[in-house]
């Protein structure tokens, strides 16, 4: 188990800058999720910790030791990839034994057998041990990949979108399994994903990466309820946070181009400085509600039925606004409705920089 620290990491590939000034601190035994879009630099970060890539600048520490000159083999980390981490010519057992047999830390045969059997039991793949890996289903393959990682008891588990190639049902099942496994092992996990649901449901901590920079690090709760900027606000959450341009006038939220007003409760928190300045109001769809007699009128633009709830798209002038409402809400497209928001849940962003005012101060 280990404590991972990245200090001021930059990485360039030719003209392309993958990472800039990245700082990251992953505590011992933490399930840390690195969340970002494709090309944000997640995999590069992971590969740098694994020792497969050297940072152009900055340092990587494992348990306080600078590992700049350590090869991948010496770092004692385990890597689970989206695909291609199993050897097609080997059986499942041979694949699981492989990490236990390198010259630098070859284990006695009895110990190898014991560890493989234990890992197979943990992942419920005992019946597959003698099968060739090209005869496995996607879910089984990914279980074996994880097995390859856990047989070794590495200091850190690095997982590069291990669930992305699987179908929805399996993904959900393995998500729970992985989380349980991590708690059971008490191991440090760094899990890379572009799927914000994975990040929210599994992470003790989440780091949001955008264009090679860490935008925000925090618990899923913090990231969700108090996004640092409009990028995080729109990236995390499904549907994402509504972002509406406007300004504060005497403690009231006035949507500037659209000319509607909503009550606002956060005036005291943000201070008078925000008064009159161009702002972006952020509100989660679940904090927008329909109510007869609510202050603003809108038309129903679209209805998405999700079973337990409905996601409505409301149209106010040219602007669209999402609202998550209970499934029993009975609405039709083009119907006129009135809505309001929960004034306590509104997040204010600076219009120019996109930074959350609460974070800025």
């Amino acid at each position: 188990m280990a404590h991972i620290q990245l200090k001021n990491i930059s990485k360039t590939f030719g003209n392309h800058t993958a990472l800039t000034g990245l700082d990251l601190d992953i505590a011992d035994g933490e399930f840390f999720v690195l969340l970002g879009e494709t090309g944000a630099g997640k995999t590069t970060t992971l590969r740098m910790i694994a020792g497969l890539e050297k940072p152009t600048e900055g340092q990587v520490f494992i348990d306080g030791v600078d590992v700049a000159n350590w090869g991948a083999a010496e770092r004692d980390v385990a890597l689970v990839l989206q695909q291609y981490s199993l050897y097609p010519r080997y059986t499942v057992r041979e694949n699981l034994e492989f990490p236990l047999k390198p010259k630098i830390r070859r284990l006695p045969d009895a110990e190898i057998k014991d560890r493989v059997d234990r890992a197979a039991r943990t992942l419920r793949i005992e019946h597959l041990l003698d099968r060739k890996t090209d005869r496995l289903s996607g879910g089984e393959m990914q279980r074996v990949s994880i097995g390859r990682a856990i047989v070794r008891k590495p200091r850190v588990f690095l997982m590069d979108e291990p669930l992305s190639a699987l179908d929805a049902k399996l993904r959900e099942a393995l998500r729970t399994e992985l989380k349980n496994l991590q708690m059971q092992l008490g191991a440090t996990f760094l899990f890379v994903t572009h799927d914000q649901i994975e990040a929210m449901s599994m992470g003790d901590k989440v780091g949001v990466l955008n264009h090679g920079r860490i935008v925000q690090t925090g618990t899923p709760h913090e990231i969700y309820n108090n996004p640092r900027d409009t990028y995080v606000a729109s990236f995390v959450g499904s549907p994402p946070m509504n972002l509406i341009d406007g300004k504060l006038v005497d403690g009231r939220a006035v949507m500037a181009p659209l000319n509607f007003e909503l009550p606002f409760a956060g005036g005291a928190k943000t201070g008078a400085a925000a008064d009159g300045r161009p702002l972006v109001f952020g509100i989660r769809p679940e904090d927008v509600y329909l109510e007869t007699g609510a202050p603003v009128e809108a038309r129903i633009h679209d209805v998405e039925n999700h079973g337990v709830e409905k996601i409505l798209t409301l149209r106010v002038g040219d602007a669209m606004l999402r609202a998550t409402v209970p499934a029993r809400t009975d609405v039709e497209i083009e119907q006129a409705v009135r809505f309001a928001w929960n004034p306590d849940k509104v997040v204010l962003f600076d219009k120019g920089s996109g930074i959350n005012l609460r974070h800025a101060s």
Binding site: S85, P88, K103, R152
Partner: protein, 319 residues
Amino acid sequence: MAAVTTSTERSLNKLAIVGVLIVTMIFLAPIYWIASTAFKPRNLATTIPPTVVFQPEISPFVKLFTKRSQLRTAPTPEQYAAAPWWERLVFDGGEKVVRSGRGEVQWSGYPNRFMNSLIVAITSTVLAVGMGTFTAYGFSRFKIKGEQDLLFFILSTRMLPPVVVAIPMFLMYRVVGLNDTHWGLIILYTAFNLSFSVWLMKGFMDEIPKEYEEAALVDGYTRMEAFFKIVLPEAATGIAATAVFCFITAWNEYAFALIMTNRRAQTAPPFIPSQVGSGLPDWTVIAAGTFLFLLPVAIFTFLLRNHLLRGMSFGAIRK
């Protein structure tokens, strides 16, 4: 796909099969000619029209492996009775086997030349494919300054027709004493095949996901171990295909073998036509030599045929 085929489709199919058969026969005709001539008695070898039905015999092969001289008179019955069965075949052809003073059979140059061919072709193939595999791996996995230029440079060694460099090569070889040596030919053929091998193997290497090795690296293996344990087995198909092509090139090479060797290291290709030589050529012997010469390539290709088929279409197939 409809299970029912129309009658036009069926007749088109038949037409295609007939077409393929005709083309196959055209391609196989010279090979049949060689093979059949190798088993013919001498008097049937040059008949017009060619004899198709005949009693096959192996006298051409006996003659191929021995030194012989013309009989002036028929052998005496004692001589004939004392001779082993294969020597009688030579007597029947109007020749006798040349023996030393102590009665040892004098072998022809063919077995030696054949061995030379095997030594040179196999060694140069192993070298070219081996070095090519390593080089291709390097090009495929590491960022190399001027990679494109280097690859082009490697390829450019194939752009000159070999004959152009024959005379300078000959002069250089004479100075360093590589003339008429196995190593001389091996070096030459390896150099020829290397560029081809590098390019072909690079295509195969690029197709092997680098994740395999990276997983091994993270698991505590060195780059070398990962290469031998993971990459090499995955590259088997490519190695087989490349080896077949290199072997065929080295095995069939004629021009340099003719110029660079004459006795010790001479390979079969320049030797076989030299036997046409003086007097009336015995075509059955030449056909026998050629027939045997065809076998190694045929066997090698046959053994690796599955790899070869995938190798030919490499790049087009994604796993």
